[in-house]
């Protein structure tokens, strides 16, 4: 099985049956156990100096996102400006990791972000459903990269995955990665549609074997988005994958993370599952929009000692 996986890792074709054998040979995930562990980590008490450190790290990990049909160049420009300087009143506040937009909005965001060090991510591959022909997905990807995106957030074909057609999912990821060229590839598993933690673990390994730089929980467009237990399964997967193949893969929970308290729970979980190596914006991101303002409010509270109202923070 190791031989199979190694050849998959190096991009050599292999039979879908081997892939299936490998993925179904991974240790199972006990639902009660993983949820209990995630809940237990959520009771860690992070205060004072550790809280300040955590808030700044969380801000640096935010993929500031707008993915609406109503997005306009004006909205995207404003969001990009906020990404560069989240708290206009406090120059010590770090910028976020990236801005995440639809491909059509990439050139607009690129114009603001150029040369800033803030990354530009774009959802591609017929986001969020992924239900389009491969050629369309690849064209979508090439467009986004050509427009200036240096990170591509692709969706997997959940239909193919749930039908057991792992080979198809694998090949699509390989093709999109090739189309993305130099851009980093985040693979969205859409865990809310996968149904079980076993599937989340299998999809994580499948994406990593196919070459993903990041594995990402959700599109934010279905009922259940990022949760702590799902992210824990994915963190265990990247930890075990690196131990086995020596390559580090990042993790991005997205959707539904709105408060500083939530964000800190994720940081605690990284700290006690994968350790230091993943506590960096290169290896962990929050896909979020409203989270940033809560982080800023808590940051201001820590530095000034009192809470400022929501009107003291910019909308976008």
């Amino acid at each position: 099985m190791t031989a199979t996986a190694t050849s998959r890792l190096s991009g050599l074709p292999d039979s879908p049956a081997d892939l299936r054998t490998f993925l179904h040979g991974l240790p199972g995930v006990d639902k009660v156990g993983i949820e209990a562990r995630a809940a237990a980590l959520g009771t860690r008490s992070v205060k004072t100096s550790s809280k300040a450190q955590a808030i700044d790290l969380a801000i640096r990990m935010v993929d500031l996102t707008t993915l609406e049909g109503a997005d306009t160049p004006g909205k995207v420009r404003a969001l990009s400006a906020k990404a560069l300087r989240p708290d206009p009143a406090d120059p010590t506040c770090p910028p976020v990791a990236a801005v995440c937009v639809y491909p059509a909005m990439v050139p607009t965001a690129a114009a603001v972000l150029a040369g800033s060090g803030v990354h530009l991510a774009s959802v591609a591959t017929a986001f969020p459903s992924g239900q389009a022909p491969l050629e369309v997905k690849l064209a979508d990807t090439r467009d986004a990269v050509a427009g200036g995106a240096d990170e591509i957030d692709m969706v997997i074909s959940r239909g193919a995955f749930l039908a057991g057609d792992y080979g198809k999912v694998f090949d699509e990821i390989v093709a999109v990665k090739e189309a993305a060229g130099p851009a980093h590839l985040k693979v969205i598993l859409e865990t809310g549609e996968l149904g079980t933690y076993d599937n989340v673990r299998r999809a994580s390994w499948l994406a990593m074997l196919a070459g993903a730089h990041f594995i990402k929980t959700s599109t934010g467009k279905v009922d259940v988005n990022a949760t702590l237990p799902v992210t824990l399964v994915m963190l265990e997967a990247v930890r075990d994958f690196r131990e086995r193949y020596g390559r580090q893969v990042g993790v991005k929970p997205a959707g539904g993370i709105r408060t500083t308290k939530d964000a800190i729970k994720y940081l605690v979980m990284i700290n006690e599952t994968c350790g230091d190596d993943w506590l960096h914006p290169d290896w962990f991101r929050f896909g979020a929009s409203s989270l940033l303002n809560d982080l800023l409010m808590q940051r201001t509270k820590l530095t000034t000692g009192h809470y400022a109202g929501p009107d003291y923070f910019t909308l976008d």
């Binding site: 199972g28 995930v29 006990d30 860690r44 004072t48 940081l267 700290n271």
Partner: protein, 472 residues
């Protein structure tokens, strides 16, 4: 590195008096002879409590006897009211109680707050519900209480063991004289105050503090009808001898050396959590702790490396810090015993490993420890260590796992880790242990009976079965 700043729970939330007398007939008396109780994390003296002699125990039993007539004559629904009231007061004052328990016992506040106290309240609520339904519990049409129950409890879960003993006794119409452990008397004395707050009639619950002799006076007292003991097998044997032929009803919940069996198809990460919870929960001061890890040889290396990685994240230190996973060893004597058995483990050729961890200078501490290469013949595989020390053994087939798991004089609990339901059922059926956990460990619930086979004792506590020990 992401360090967590200290997050201590405030100890000022609970008032500790400079000294405590005995709680007899609804009143705290003056303390004549006393002994000190200390905080095992700092060795600081917390307070002085009375050392009960034979006359004190006599007075307590007499008070319980007087109270028995009217308490047992009350309708079950009336007794239930008091138990419900006690349960609610415990919930309301659980923060105080959790801090007190951690101070006196050394267990992390995370556990006293999230495990012990919720279970204590749940136990009183559960047995309150039984008080007016005893006729339908399956012990005959008119089950009757026994009289005065003499109860002796250990130091590992002081408040929870008190609840396990007192709640069913009161629900069934008995009255109680309870002796908490010498090193952890404070939560029982706090409970006496809860009884007063609940306006429980005087004499229904009496608390006598002291050491082994006080316990002996109590269980040997001729006017005690029922003896309930949780503690070591050695003391349990003495009690069984002294009670034999007296007509007293007896339940014993004693030691254990539980096997935690991990099969090759186990959910590895959750099994690792279960192993950690099985042996490091409450510093391993748990009679049903999973102190023998039986792991299938084909996954032993992988499992052990995961276990070691996980152990390196355990936080040992101040019990009142909300982020502490492992607190202090309860007493100097217990620490000495753990150190001694661990040294024997090394001398007998097992390989010892602990994660790097800094232990405080003062107080009683022991780093979480595993021994690999342990065989059935090693003392650390046979004797109860009652500390954060895990012995790791391997097996090849399910039959061998069952054989090894059962090859112990104890039989309190066991754990099975496998994704295969049929295997779990088949193995559980053959394990000679009172509790078998599947894909979990150290899970407790008032509705579930708890007790052992063989030298782990007899009788059951909890559930409908727990009523039987207090009914004739």
């Amino acid at each position: 590195m992401f360090e967590y700043a200290p997050a201590p729970e405030s100890r000022s939330i609970v008032d500790i008096a400079p000294s405590y007398g005995l709680f007899i007939d609804g009143e705290f008396g003056e303390a004549k002879d006393t002994f000190k109780t200390i905080n095992p994390a700092t060795e600081e003296v917390l307070t002085e409590v009375a050392l009960a002699g034979p006359e004190d125990v006599d007075r307590a039993v007499a008070a319980a006897r007087r109270a028995f007539t009217s308490w047992s004559a009350r309708p079950g629904s009336e007794r239930a009211k008091y138990l419900f009231r006690i349960a609610r007061i415990i919930q309301e004052r659980s923060r105080e109680l959790a801090v007190l328990e951690s101070l006196d016992n050394g267990k992390p506040i995370k556990e006293s707050r999230d495990v012990d106290l919720p279970l204590v309240a749940a136990h009183f609520f559960y047995y309150a519900g039984w008080a007016d339904k005893l006729k339908y519990a399956g012990f005959g049409p008119e089950p009757r209480p026994l009289g005065v129950a003499g109860q002796v409890i250990p130091w590992n879960f002081p408040m929870l063991m008190l609840a396990w003993k007192i709640a069913p006794a009161l629900a069934t119409g008995n009255t109680v004289v309870l002796k908490p452990a010498e090193t952890t008397p404070l939560s029982a004395l706090f409970f006496a105050d809860v009884c007063r707050q609940a306006e429980l009639p005087p004499g229904v619950v009496n608390i006598v503090t002291g050491a082994g002799d006080t316990g002996r006076y109590l269980v040997e007292h001729p006017d005690v009808n029922k003896v309930a003991f949780t503690g070591s097998t050695e003391v349990g044997r003495q009690i069984a001898r002294s009670v034999a032929g007296t007509g007293k009803k007896l339940t014993l919940e004693l030691g254990g050396k539980a096997a935690n069996i991990v099969f090759d198809d186990a959910p590895i990460d959750q099994a690792v959590e279960g192993i950690v919870n099985g042996i490091f929960f409450n510093q391993g001061h748990v009679c049903c702790a999973g102190s023998r890890l039986l792991v299938q040889e084909s996954i032993a290396d992988e499992l052990l490396s995961s276990l070691k990685r996980r152990m390196a994240t355990l936080r040992v230190g101040d019990p009142l810090d909300k982020n502490t996973d492992i607190g202090a060893i309860n007493s100097r004597a217990q620490l000495d015993k753990i150190v001694e058995l661990s040294e024997i483990g090394g001398q007998e050729g097992a390989e010892r490993w602990s994660p790097p961890c800094e232990l405080p200078d003062r107080g009683f501490w022991f780093a979480p420890t595993i021994f690999t290469g342990v065989t059935q013949a090693h003392r650390i595989a046979r004797e109860e260590i009652f500390g954060p020390v895990l012995s790791v053994l391997t097996f090849r087939t399910p039959a061998e796992a069952i054989e090894k798991a059962n090859n112990t004089p104890y039989g309190l609990s066991a754990g099975i880790w496998s994704e295969k339901g049929s295997q779990i059922l088949a193995v559980a059926d053959k394990l000679r242990a009172g509790v078998v956990w599947a894909n979990t460990f150290n899970k407790f619930d008032p509705t579930s009976p708890f007790g052992g086979y063989k030298e782990s004792g007899y009788g059951r506590e909890g559930g409908r079965q727990g009523l039987e020990a207090y009914l004739a």
